[in-house]
């Protein structure tokens, strides 16, 4: 049994200009103690997928179809109060630009302890002590517990956010571009902290990134997302060795390879499609250098091939 | 501009505000033709405090003066003071804000301190003391109201100028040798105009309000009868409870004029908001 299973998820934004299919027929599974990477350009629906799992989608966004099974319970049909109890305790999220995730007028300690007070039946004093311990766990000075966010640097804030998200020992952690906006050295430190915590706390995680290096280092399997859809899904090593989908190939060749031979970096021509009134056929077709006639009219189905999934006409039998 | 008016009319509050303001403008322009007599003219003893009749549409006050005429002519005073004081305070405030924002440094420091100081002062007591010292003529009232209201405009314009100054087009103009006054009045000022317009509506509201209160407190121009003064006389007469036709019309006129300007102001703020058009599907 998978810890988390997303099945045929469709999430649309209903705007005056039309319906944007931000997440369209997305499905994946995350097994216990595994880390799944979700990769793609900005605006491809990664963050929306993450928020959908937390059920934190705001109108005009709406889940219109599909299931999100967490421990075999469907989150989509869960009522508000049950969902609230699940957040922070069962499922936790570390959001993009975590610097803004901290309430500026609340001390760090209070913000960390708050999750404990909400979920566990413990007193304020104990919550405070556990918050202090948690602060040490993420490598921050426990004396800083009564400090306020503005007294922290960017990297420290991110650590505090990680402490906040993991304090209740959630079973499933979503990391939505946890290192965006930080400098490279701090990124490194945070990644090793995350990897360390994953083992320490036995976390199952979904890691969202647009940086291939980050994914390569942390994830067991990877799903590649394009225009609201998953186009390829495989184990990390195979994807890096031999990406199947033209988009995955393009994505990989747009990044430098630090260890391997030198190669020409190529940017992907064109821009990601608008999500409103998208044309028929494969969404990547206009930018694809291998496009076939069929790509224009028919949307490719997800295919199973050698332990990997890919949605592309090139691989249709 | 045409688009802007169209937008205003698409806004419920804007429509309402414009409609009522137009009514009052009409009343003040055509006052002599609207069944009015000289509002200062007392009539004979038996016509004192008479209730509404066909002769006196809204009745008379304790000196036998026609209330309807006082209301109609009163709209001239409110609107004049409103418009003139708003123009004076917005123009002066814009000038100060422009200078401070554009030159920065010590000029800005000094001007900002002055603006802060004036904003800190309690408006009504300052207006009262100035009006009492200068003497209550309509021009002094306009002066007093402007003294109190210019700082808000100065502050808002200043911050707008500060951000405009950093825009590339100013930089470009400067690099080809445009003079300070050219930059200020030809490049920056036109971009501040929409803001001045929104401010003017607010200032008109405040000025009408201020005149009304000053007059109610007995600091109105004695040679004119404004709505605030009508209330002052009624309040002082001690018989206002027995002559509601005397008290209610000015209250109603004041409230509806001020509310309509507030509505118009809200509408302008709303429609100049970038998201407005989209939300309306326009």
């Amino acid at each position: 049994m998978s810890l988390l299973e997303v099945d045929d998820l469709r999430l649309y934004f209903y705007t005056k200009r039309g319906t944007a299919k931000a997440v369209d027929r997305v499905g994946f599974r995350v097994e216990k103690n595994e880390t799944l990477g979700l990769i793609g350009e900005s605006g491809c629906g990664k963050t929306t997928t993450a928020l959908a799992i937390m059920k934190l989608i705001k109108p005009p966004g709406q889940i219109v179809h599909g299931k999100i099974l967490f421990q075999d319970r469907d989150i989509v049909s869960l009522d508000k109060e049950d969902m609230r109890e699940l957040r922070g305790k069962g499922l936790a999220i570390i959001r993009q630009e975590a610097q803004n995730s901290l309430n500026p007028v609340m001390s760090i300690g209070k913000q960390i302890a708050e999750g404990l007070l909400v979920h566990d039946k413990i007193g304020k004093k104990e919550a405070w002590e556990r918050a202090e311990h948690q602060l040490g766990l993420v490598g921050l000075d426990t004396k800083m517990i009564s400090h306020f966010p503005h007294e922290f640097s960017g990297g420290m804030k991110q650590r505090a956010v990680i402490a906040m998200a993991t304090v209740c020992r959630p079973q499933f952690l979503i990391l939505d571009e946890p290192t965006t906006g930080l400098d490279v050295i701090v990124q490194r430190q945070l990644l090793s902290l995350i990897n360390h915590l994953k083992q320490e706390l036995g976390l199952t995680a979904l890691l969202i990134a647009h940086d291939l290096a980050v994914i390569a280092e942390t994830c067991d399997r990877v799903a590649v997302m394009y225009a609201g859809k998953i186009v390829e899904h495989s184990d990390t090593v195979s994807l890096y060795r031999k990406p199947l989908h033209p988009y995955s190939q393009a994505l990989l060749s747009a990044y430098p390879n630090l260890k391997g031979e030198k190669k020409q970096l190529r940017s992907i021509p064109g821009v990601p499609p608008r999500l409103i009134n998208t044309p028929y056929g494969c969404k990547f077709e206009p930018r694809c250098s291998y496009a076939l006639e069929a790509c224009k009219h028919q949307e490719p189905e997800m295919m199973y091939q050698d332990g990997r999934y890919v949605a592309c006409h090139l691989f249709q039998a | 501009m045409k688009d802007f008016v169209k937008l205003l009319f698409s806004h419920g509050m804007g429509r309402m505000g414009i409609f009522i303001i137009t009514l009052f403008l009409f009343a003040s322009l055509f006052a002599p033709y609207l069944h009015t007599i000289d509002p200062h003219k007392s009539s004979s003893f038996e016509n004192m405090l008479s209730p509404p009749s066909t002769q006196f549409w809204l009745g008379t006050d304790d000196l036998g003066r026609d209330i309807w005429s006082q209301i109609i002519y009163g709209s001239r005073i409110s609107l004049t003071i409103g418009f003139v004081a708003a123009i004076v305070s917005v123009v002066f405030g814009t000038f100060v804000g422009l200078l401070g924002g554009f030159y920065g440094g010590i000029v800005d420091d000094v001007l900002s301190k002055i603006v802060d100081f004036f904003m800190m002062l309690p408006e009504l007591p300052l207006m009262i003391i100035l009006a009492a010292v200068l003497g209550p003529t309509i021009w002094n009232i306009i002066f007093v109201v402007s003294v109190v209201n210019w700082p808000t405009t100065a502050r808002i314009v200043r911050s707008q100028v500060l951000s405009l100054k950093e825009r590339p087009f100013i930089e470009a103009s400067r690099s080809i040798g445009a003079s300070d006054s050219f930059l200020m009045f030809k490049e920056i000022l036109p971009n501040v105009v929409p803001l001045m317009f929104a401010q003017s509506v607010l200032m008109i509201t405040l000025a009408i309000y201020a005149e009304t209160i000053l007059s109610f407190l007995g600091l109105g121009d004695p040679s004119l009868i404004s709505w605030g003064q009508m209330l002052h006389f009624a309040f002082e007469s001690g018989v206002m409870a027995r002559s509601l036709w005397w008290v209610m019309p000015p209250i109603f006129a004041i409230c509806s004029l001020i509310v309509s300007f507030t509505f118009l102001g809200t509408a302008i703020t709303d429609v100049t908001n970038p998201g407005y058009k989209e939300a309306r599907g326009l």
Binding site: R84, E85, P104, S107, H150 | M120, P125, I129, M240, A241
Partner: protein, 322 residues
Amino acid sequence: MKSFILKRAGASLITVFAVICLNFLIFRLAPGDPVKMMFTDPRVTAEQMQEVREKFGLDKPLGGQFISYVQRLAHGDLGISFWQKKPVTRVLAEKIPQTLILVITALGMAVILGVILGALAGWKTGTRLDTFIVSASLAMYSIPSFALGLILLLVFAYTLTIFPLSGMSTPASGLTGFGYLKDVAWHMVLPAFSIVMWYIGEFVVLTRSSMTDVLGQEYITSARAKGVKESGILWRHALRNALLPVVTMTGVNLGFAVAGVIEAETVFSWPGIGLLTYEAVMKRDYPLLQGIFLLFAVSVILANFVVDIIYGYIDPRIRVGE
């Protein structure tokens, strides 16, 4: 925090000094002879005027006059009220408590109710409740306090006779203790209501817009992601942040708030500084008016100082940063 308070205190003192200068200048630079202006009574003789001139040092040059003005002020001497023939300081002191009771009650209620209603409206943006709260406050905000006061007076005091017409207590009632307090509270209902109704709109509109701002912030979503209850989101996370601009605006608008007091006290003959202002205007009692202006201005500066301190308390960034 200490240095922050000291800094604010210093700035407030400078402002007070500027107010004193302004107060001095308004009367000296006014057109005409200030003494002649003070005495509108034709029975006052030229000698008496001369006497006053000497007493106030009005025959000396402006600089000297200013020094002696400040000296007298330092001793609490604001001159003699023409109308009451008593020192202005004493006249004012007698009226301050009555005004304070009214202002604190009304302002307190307006802030609490306004913030709660505004927070609700912001929380439920776009609902009917929101539309109702906002349009009602906007309308209330546009009606001058004295106009509302007059309507209340005519309806509830004159016509329905539910509430007393004027004053602060029933004359010669002989009430003491709790009975007296009840009587005062009864008299306070209408004037306080007319002030509350006027202030409340401002707080509602401000809190609402600040609330909608805050609710769009990341940290609200991340608090939800922690599983915090909606009530906790509203009161613990959103409101405290939403209050910051409200506190600032309260300070800025205090000067404006004074107007409500003058109007309400005048309409309901509440025996405080506001009614005194009206009477001083009617009697053209200039020394008293000057004293009143100084009192109001200094109170507003003082209140602003307090507001700044409160702000420093709510916003940790100010406390340490400055």
